[in-house]
Amino acid sequence: MKLAVPRRHRSIALAYLLLLVLVVVGRIVASGFLGVDHIDELIDEGALIGFVALGQGFVILAGGVDLSIPWVVTSAGILVTTFTGTNSSNMLWDVPLIIGLAAVVGLINGIGVVFLGVTPIIMTLGMSTVVEGALLLYTNGSAGGNVPHPAVFLATHKIGQVPVMGLAWLVLIVVVTFTLSCTPFGRRLYAVGLNRRVALFSGVDVKLVTCSVYVISSCAAAFAGIALAGYVGQSYLGMGDPYLFTSIAAVAIGGASILGGTGNYIGTVAGALTLSVLNALLPTLGFQPAVLDIVYGMVILVAVAAASLGGRARTD
């Protein structure tokens, strides 16, 4: 039997199927699930996951992983409240500055991985600790301040029926999908993730590509941090913590190989929405939030197992 979906998109189709099943289950078991308000909430939370998973997806695609995302998210959230505060006009300067700082963090990650040969897990974990320390010094251990209005607008307002954050996400989805599937950078990125030696032989600047995914990841995390501050209306230390595993899990559910080289953002979007639906569904079913952690853990383990099993089947 032949499926109409090409082989490489099959796992992405599967991710959407999973999402559909969850939604249907939700409709059946929980009343009020997927009401109009509820949908907005699901989209907003999905978008936040989608932002961090965007960056994580680039890094994973190149065969690495970025563990520094949570503290970059937290830093961006805290900086935007303490720095900018209620003075919205500062946003114009502060947002590029915050994202620029994040880019520096990403660049250091990339340089460590590419030029010093540190493994991605160690490098980004180390960098995460550095960022955490710097942030604690800066805040003296207590964060505060007010969220500037534009961030609140982005995260909570609607244009007509449509949440602004959903629109922003849509724009990013289009841009990222285009970048991955239609640009030389995207093609080279897949090549690097599949096999860096072949990519190198083919004249791809492997170092540049690898470096840039870490920069993209940090920038996306910073953007997510700003949006998150707007969404929860405040900032606090550790606000980015949940986004480490969600970012990896969204990518994995979305059908990307955790070992790099396959998957695309359309799949990750399904992964992010799935997690956001799970997030909402589990409490209504009477599960504790801790169950969600178990689910994340399982998802990642299953994804890694599937990736290595799939890899083995291929070489046979």
Binding site: K2, R7, R8, F178, C182, T183, P184, R187, R188, Y190, A191, L194, N195, R197, V198, A199, L200, F201, S202, G203, V204, D205, G261, T262, R314, T315, D316
Partner: protein, 516 residues
């Protein structure tokens, strides 16, 4: 089929069929291998030879038909089970484990154990040394990690692994593709000795001279179907080629074209790299095909790699009179040097098997097919299409996954990449390894056309016959230096070149890497 007919065959295939996603790789194939017989299996790239081997090994199961081993239906669950039943197989893709030592690989499924069931290291080593002696193989350290070995040495290890298990059926899938002349001689001797001891051998190779030399019978596969089985010598070589290709082949070697111009396109002065390349001076002229000969590991690979920026080198490299610093493949491509290296393991190093042929071919030239920052599929198709036609890759479908191609067709993709890369100096490293006669003939024609268009080529091949028939000039390398520079004006033959290769070794008394 009556049972009677199989009595004598140690292995019989009966109406074996196998398809992959609707494409038939094997259709109703039957043949018998007798005990003590060397039975050659020949056919084009993609004819289904390796698929048949994988079915015998139990790595694939047939859609229809069956395999009989020693008269009984044989369905091993995996290659391990086949090995246990007495079938020793050297697969085309060399499934050795790079992180283990030679000894650990050779005895992978039969490690000698101590009483507490750990590996008995000393005994393992001793047994491996014994195996080396028994099959008179020298020059490889049993304690070396397989990842550090050259392709040829890995191939020898894989062969030793199969031989050392004392199989009653030995299957060699293109085992000589990566071997140099002296190593091929060694292998043929071992195969003959095994056959004399009653071992049946299935021998797969694209080198028809070898086939004529060694086998008693041969079976030809074409497009997954058996064309027939013959006794060796029953077919003239032209008839054999026709059976393989299904058409006549004018000639394998198109002759060496008079295309050499005086201009020097590539020059190295005092090139040094790694431990193997010491002080190499070389000149390649416009339109010239310069053959590189030498025993395994005399710096040929290092020369190619340093010219392509994969290996840090010292000394100077001039392309078209201009000195270039080449520190990466990007630098090389920019200086106008292209590389068609057929790497050790095509599947994992030569191309990206999960991408399409088109995506693989376009990878080095993405900047040329993109427009306003995105890849124009039309430009991509225009650039890639002619190359796919020219090399006659697979079903000529650019959107086919490279990993689904047969071995030889994958090779063509690797080669195709440089044809469109726009380089003027082409480094060709073991270009024709594992490529069928038809494709070889096409490739040599292509090389001649390229020479006529003014391309300069550095052509390394482990097959000396090929060098003599293709190159304008041949340099013999030994110990990182050029030890002979021979103009191929019709007076050269294989023996003379091999003599040069061996002479240098004898003179210096270094015969370490030589298989005797």
């Amino acid at each position: 089929m009556s049972r009677q007919a199989n009595e004598s065959g140690i292995l019989s295939a009966r109406g074996v069929s196998k398809s992959f996603g609707g494409v038939a790789a094997l259709h109703d194939v039957s043949f018998d291998v007798l005990p003590g017989e060397i039975h050659a299996l020949v056919g084009e790239n993609g004819a289904g030879k390796s698929t048949l081997v994988k079915i015998i090994a139990g790595a694939l199961s047939p859609d229809a038909g069956e395999v009989l081993f020693k008269g009984d239906p044989f369905k091993p669950s995996d290659p391990g089970a086949a090995a246990e039943a007495g079938i020793g197989i050297v697969f085309q893709e060399l499934p050795l484990i790079p992180d283990l030592t030679v000894a650990e690989n050779v005895f992978f499924d039969r490690q000698p154990l101590t009483r507490v069931r750990t590996v008995a290291r000393r005994r393992l080593r001793a047994e491996c040394v014994e195996a080396f002696e028994r099959f008179s193989l020298t020059g490889i350290d049993p304690e070396a990690q397989v990842r550090d070995l050259s392709v040829a040495s890995r191939q020898l290890v894989a062969i030793l692994k199969a031989l050392a298990a004392d199989p009653s059926l030995l299957v060699l899938d293109e085992a000589t593709a990566a071997l140099g002349p002296s190593e091929v001689t060694w292998l043929l001797e071992q195969v003959r000795a095994a056959a004399e001891a009653g071992v049946a051998v299935i021998y797969i190779s694209h080198r028809l001279a070898e086939i004529a030399d060694i086998c008693q019978r041969l079976t030809v596969l074409r497009n997954g179907e058996s064309v027939g089985s013959w006794r060796n010598g029953e077919l003239e070589s032209e008839e054999l080629v026709r059976a393989i290709l299904g058409r006549r082949l004018g000639q394998l070697y198109p002759g060496i074209p008079p295309t050499v111009k005086p201009k020097v396109m590539l020059e190295t002065k005092g090139l040094r790299a790694g431990r193997r390349l010491r002080n190499l001076d070389l000149q390649v002229k416009e339109g010239e095909i310069l053959g590189i000969a030498g025993l395994e590991g005399q710096g040929q690979l290092e020369l190619i790699l340093s010219l392509y920026g994969m290996l840090t080198s010292h000394g100077s490299i001039f392309v078209d009179g201009v000195e270039h610093r080449i520190n990466s493949p990007r630098d090389a491509l920019r200086a106008g040097i292209g590389l068609a290296l057929v790497p050790e393991d095509r599947k994992t190093e030569g191309l990206l098997p999960t991408l399409t042929i088109r995506e693989n071919l376009a990878l080095p030239v993405l900047h040329r097919v993109s427009h306003l920052g995105y890849i124009s599929s039309q430009k991509e198709a225009e650039l890639v299409g002619p190359t796919i036609h020219r090399l006659n890759i697979g079903r000529q479908d650019p959107s086919q996954l490279a990993g689904d191609l047969s071995g030889g067709n994958q090779q063509k993709v690797v080669v195709g990449k440089f044809l469109i890369s726009g380089a003027r100096v082409l480094l060709l490293y073991d270009l024709t390894r594992g490529v069928d006669v038809g494709a070889k003939a096409e490739m040599f024609l292509t090389l001649n056309e390229l020479a006529a268009e003014g391309y300069s080529m550095l052509f390394y091949s482990s097959d000396v016959t090929e060098l003599v028939n293709v190159a304008h000039r041949i340099v013999v390398m030994f110990d990182g230096l050029v030890c002979a520079d021979l103009l191929n004006d019709g007076s050269l033959d294989e023996e003379m070149i091999v003599a040069h290769m061996l002479n240098a070794a004898d003179r210096t008394g270094v015969v370490g890497s030589l298989v005797r």
